[in-house]
Structure formats: C-alpha cells, structure tokens
Amino acid sequence: MPAVQETVERVRSIDVDQYKYGFVTDIESEKAPKGLSEDTVRYISAKKNEPEWMLEWRLDAYRRWLTMEEPTWARVSYPKIDFQDYYYYSQPKSTPGPQSLDDIDPEILATYEKLGIPLREREILLGIQNPTSRVAVDAVFDSVSVATTFKAELAKAGVIFCSISEAIREHPDLVRQYLGSVVPVSDNFYATLNTAVFSDGSFVYIPKGVRCPMELSTYFRINERNTGQFERTLIIADEGAYVSYLEGCTAPQRDENQLHAAVVELVALKDAEIKYSTVQNWYPGDKDGKGGIYNFVTKRGDCRGDNSKISWTQVETGSAITWKYPSCILRGDGSQGEFYSIAISNGYQQVDSGTKMIHLGKNTSSRIISKGIAAGRSENTYRGQVTAHRRATNARNFTNCDSLLIGDRCGAHTVPYIEAKNSSAVFEHEATTSKISEDQMFYCLQRGLTQEEAVALIVNGFVKDVLQQLPMEFAVEAQKLISVSLEGSVG
C-alpha cells in the first residue's frame, strides 16, 4: 500500500477519544445561572466582592458587547455559538482560601497528577518543604485560584503574583492604572465579552529594577461542564524589571464545545523585559471533529518604555478552534518584540494563529518565527501583520514562517499583511511549505525508526528553532506533547 494511502488510513483510525487528559474531576461547584445578562455580570462581580468601579467597567463592556458582531475573517468554521447556553461563572465549592495547601481538595491535587504536572511543581502544590526547583505555581482550577505558592519569597523581592480578583481588592491603584490599557474594552468581540464576565486569572507586578527570582507559572484547567472560561491576566514589568511567565493548559474531555476567551495584557516599561511562554493542550475534539475547546484569545503586549522587550513563545497543540494572535505594540524607542510559535493541528482541528508587530517608536525591531504543522484533516493558518507607522524610523522585522504538512488531507495557509508608512523600514519575510516525503519516511524506517519515531524526529527538527526559545521547564514537556499530539498522524 502506498505510504500516503497508509497515512490516510491511519489518520482515519486515530482514536482521539483516547485523549489522555479526558477526565472530569468530581467536585461540587457553585455556578452562576446559565446565560448572559446584566444580572450575570452583577452576580460575578458580587461573588468576587468587587469594588463599584470594577462592576461599572464590566457593565460598560457588557453593553458594548451587545452591539458587537462576532468576527468572521479567520479561516475557521463552526456552528453558531449560542452565548445564552453557557455558564459564565463556576467556583469549586470547597475552596479553602488560598492560604494553606493542606486545605486543598485532594481531587484537585489528583487532577494535577493526571495532568502530568512535573513532579517538582507537584511537590510545591503538595506543600513539600524544600522543593527542588524554583517555579511558583498559581493554579487556576476552573475559575478560581486555589493555590498560590512561593508568595512570601516573591513578596520579599517586592513581586506581586496573585489572582486578578485579589489584585482588584488589594492593589486597586495598579489594576486601575493598567487593566484595559493594552486591550481596550471594545477591542474585539471576544475581548469585550471577557471584560464583562472574566472569572479570574493572574496578576503580576515586578517593581523597578527587579529581576523576578523565579519563573512564574500558571496551570489552567477547564473543569465544569458548559463553563465558559474567561481568564484575565495582567503583567506589568516596571522600569528595568524582568519576568518570565509560563502558562500551561489541559482540559478534560466533554461533548459540548467549550468557549474560552481569555485576555492577556503585558506592559513593559523602560528597559523592562517580559517573556511569556504558553503550552496549550486543550481537548481538540474527537475523531469525527465533535467537541473540543473553542479558543478565542486576545494576547497583547505593550512595549511602553524605551528599550523594552516582550517575547511571546507558544506551543499550540490542542483546541478544536484556535483564534489567537499574541501581538506586540512597539511604542518605546528601541523596543523589541518577538513571537515564536509552534502550532500543531491534527484530526479536525482548525488553527488560525499568528501575531501582530506594530512598530510605533524609532529603531524598533521585531522577529517572528512561526512553525505550523498540519496533519489529519486539519487546517492550519498563519496570519501575521507587521506595520511601521510614520514615526517609526529604522523599523526592522524578520519573519520566517514555515509549514509542514503530514498527509494530503490537511491544509496550511500563510496570510501576511505588511505595511510600512516609513520608508526606512526593512521588513524581511520568508515562508516555506514542505511535506514529509515518502522517501524521507522510508529512509528513516530503513534505519529502524518506527513511523511515529520518524515523524517525531522530523517534526522536532522542524520546530527546534522555536523549542529552544522555551524555558527549560517547558522545553522537554513541549517536546513530549508534540509527539503525543501527532500520535496516529501516520502509520
């Protein structure tokens, strides 16, 4: 049987139902009534004991959202979402308050175990006194932070790392100053929805001149049936500060499509640097394309000060639909933006992802390395925008955008928008599309590699430029995840 044929057969037989992380933790939840109205917004705000200004902000967003249309320009298709058919808030009932790890529901800890959170991080979650690694975990279980660790040590450095709800209560001045300053209330349909109903998320503030003493890490987990997830994250690096933030996600299996619309805002002041890394491994749907997470994310970083730098690194392997464009606004003179991405689609997944680099300041530079891998019957689109405004003298961009196809029923697409209003801008764009050839597969097999080993080897070679951008904690995990995601993509 010709290899391609064989590939197709195997892809047909992928048992996506065996999704490794498909399980539901049984914990009683407290939910807002189904559907979305001003009352829902008030319910959420009240649940979180929010100040009046926050409620007003949410309500303003909600009213604007009512006038907005769902965007349709992305290369993804899905049945119309009934926004009244979701729960917009749920909270594990047994939340003990984030002070003591001993109080945490053992079910939750068992969940982390199944997720394969690295042992050292589990150690921290389990409250072991002298954990071997220095990764602080702010675990978000459904909508509420249930554990925050290493807080004391971070506090010593003056770093604030807490849930956004807590930040709204404890650090209202910082929150009011920066929240919504990168992604405005009516930025886009999903961001506006998020603003109205966001449930929780993380808040980070690194004070002037401080290098955050450890990587900050959050694991997100969607757990409740029909719970829309609306995380809100705000990270501020004050002048000369540095922080590396890791976000990792997996979700249990379910039939209903789950809506997820997060907003992440990053602010880097003068000479500050933020490195934001994501590994996204949500449920992609079953072998017939049923179920799976709808992931509509707005992530944007503002290089607000001179010589500031923001790097996005993402490994996207999950979700039925991914709509995600982590972007950088290069406002400060000499600021730098980076986007490193690995986006893998298999089965019936649809990925439309990329970045925007908006050059506003002088001598700003940006770098985009995107690796898209499509297998099965998936569609994988890179959408990138690079613009230089009139003031942006000497703007530089380098874009390298490669696609790899596995089998012949998938698609890879590249949609670059490039615009320079300043004639000194130098934008370079490279793009390639390749396919794992039958000859390459046979060569590997002849040397004794199995089909899966061969694909993993070739794919890992294809993505290694991006993998090496990930912090060590993530690189190994991501590499494993890539192999797992492509399991069954060929014979």
Binding site: P2, E438, G448, Q451, G461
Partner: protein, 251 residues
C-alpha cells in the same frame, strides 16, 4: 542456513513488471556483487528487500535468516539486520545527522529489546567511526545529508552501516560519486565490516570497486533476473566486453 534466500521473486511498480523471477542465495560471510545494465532492476531489488512502499511483490519469496522478509514492516526488517546503503541518499532538513544516528541506533536496540546506548558511549563510537571515514564533526551537526556532496552522502551511508552493524548489507552503487581516495576509504570501511556471520550484496557498475572489495560471487542481472553468476573474474570479463551478450538472454 543461508543468510539471504530469494526464490523466484517477481515485483512490479505501477503495473510495470521489473523483477521477473529472481533467485539469489547469500551465505553468511559472503560478499556478492551484482552488475547489470541501467534499468535492469538492481535498485528495485534492493528496495523490494528493504520494503519500500509502492513496490508490489507478485510472486516468490525472500528470507533473511529464515524469516519471511516480505511480511515485515521496513523498520522491522532493519531491526532484523537488513541495511540498505541508498544509491541516492535522502536529505532530511532540520534533523542533525548526529541526532539521526542516535535515534536510529536506539530504535533498533529498542526493537531488539536491548538497552539504549549511553550518551558518552555513543559519542565515542561516532567520533571514532566518523573519523575513519573522513566525516567531520561539522557534517555531523548538519541536517541529514543536507549540503553534503555526492561523495559525502555515500560516506555517511557507510557510517550508518558501520554504526548499525547489520547482518546483511546491501550497497547500491556506493562507489558512484566517490573520488579515488574516498573510494579507498569507503572500501576499507566496508571491508572492516566483513565478518563470518555477515553477508553483503554490492551493486556496482565498475570492476574498480571490486578491486577493493573483493567479492566471492559476481552476478549479472538483466531484465529483472540473474542471468549469469561466476567468480570475481566475471567482473573483469564484463569490464572488457560489456553487457552486449546478455540483452537477448531474458525474454
């Protein structure tokens, strides 16, 4: 027992019958040379034995150590000890040669239920064998066969063969593209692998290679069959007279 036993092998590709009743027996320790005109099916034979997709075996059998090769997946054939040095080695961009070698060695070890080679052992081994073949550390860092010259690709094939220590080595025109010095180096590499329990099938157009790798048996292949077999002097005869006398042999 014969190491390789091929009986009445018929194979086709896209409805073109290429192998038409080929018989060949290679005993442990023997080196067999196969010569024959372009298009006679020499590479096809090597691909069919290695299990390349697209080739359909329509009759006959092929046994390696008594195991039915034709029923095994290509990777299982490799793990069972079959190695093919490709006439045209394949490029795999992005995958460092070093990584490829290591993955291959460990994949075969795993398939045979053996433990992985430790990193220091692997590095020592590669360094030594690559040095013998004049393969630089820089080449080992590059993508598999990417940017390698024709001769470098062939040497890389022999390096892989040396590291994998197969039972049956099939070399498809390993000499083409090699300069005189490289021919010597490669031949030495191949000769170093000659062993009482190992067999080799050396496909070549030129007697020159057989001065370095002296065969026990020389076969002439034409139109998908072995049409004549003899000792090493047969190669000299072919060098002098060409294949003119064989074209009408096979109907």
């Amino acid at each position: 027992m014969a190491l390789l036993e091929i009986k009445n092998l018929h194979a086709q590709i896209e409805d073109n019958q290429i192998l038409r009743g080929l018989d060949l027996v290679v005993n442990p320790g023997e080196v067999h040379a196969i010569m024959g005109p372009n298009g006679s099916g020499k590479s096809t034979l090597s691909y069919v034995l290695a299990g390349k997709p697209d080739y359909e075996v329509t009759a006959g059998e092929a046994l390696l150590d008594g195991q039915n090769l034709l029923e095994m997946d290509p990777d299982a054939r490799a793990a069972a000890g079959l190695f093919l040095a490709f006439q045209y080695p394949i490029e795999i961009p992005g995958v460092a040669t070093m990584t490829f070698l290591r993955t291959a060695i460990n994949a075969q070890r795993k398939a045979r239920g053996e433990a992985e080679l430790s990193t220091p052992d692997f590095l020592r081994l590669v360094k030594e064998k690559a040095g013998d073949l004049g393969i630089t550390q820089d080449m080992l860092r590059r993508g598999v066969n990417v940017g390698f010259s024709g001769g470098e690709k062939k040497r890389n094939e022999i390096l892989q063969m040396t590291l994998l220590q197969p039972k049956l080595c099939i070399l498809d025109e390993t000499d083409s593209g090699l300069d005189i010095d490289a021919l010597k180096v490669v031949s030495e590499g191949v000769n170093a692998l000659r062993a009482p329990d190992r067999g080799m099938v050396v496909i070549t157009h030129y007697q020159r290679l057989l001065n370095h790798i002296v065969p026990d048996v020389v076969h002439v292949m034409n139109k998908g069959r072995i049409v004549r077999s003899g000792g090493k002097e047969l190669a000299l005869e072919l060098e002098a007279s060409g294949y003119a006398g064989y074209s009408q042999d096979a109907a």
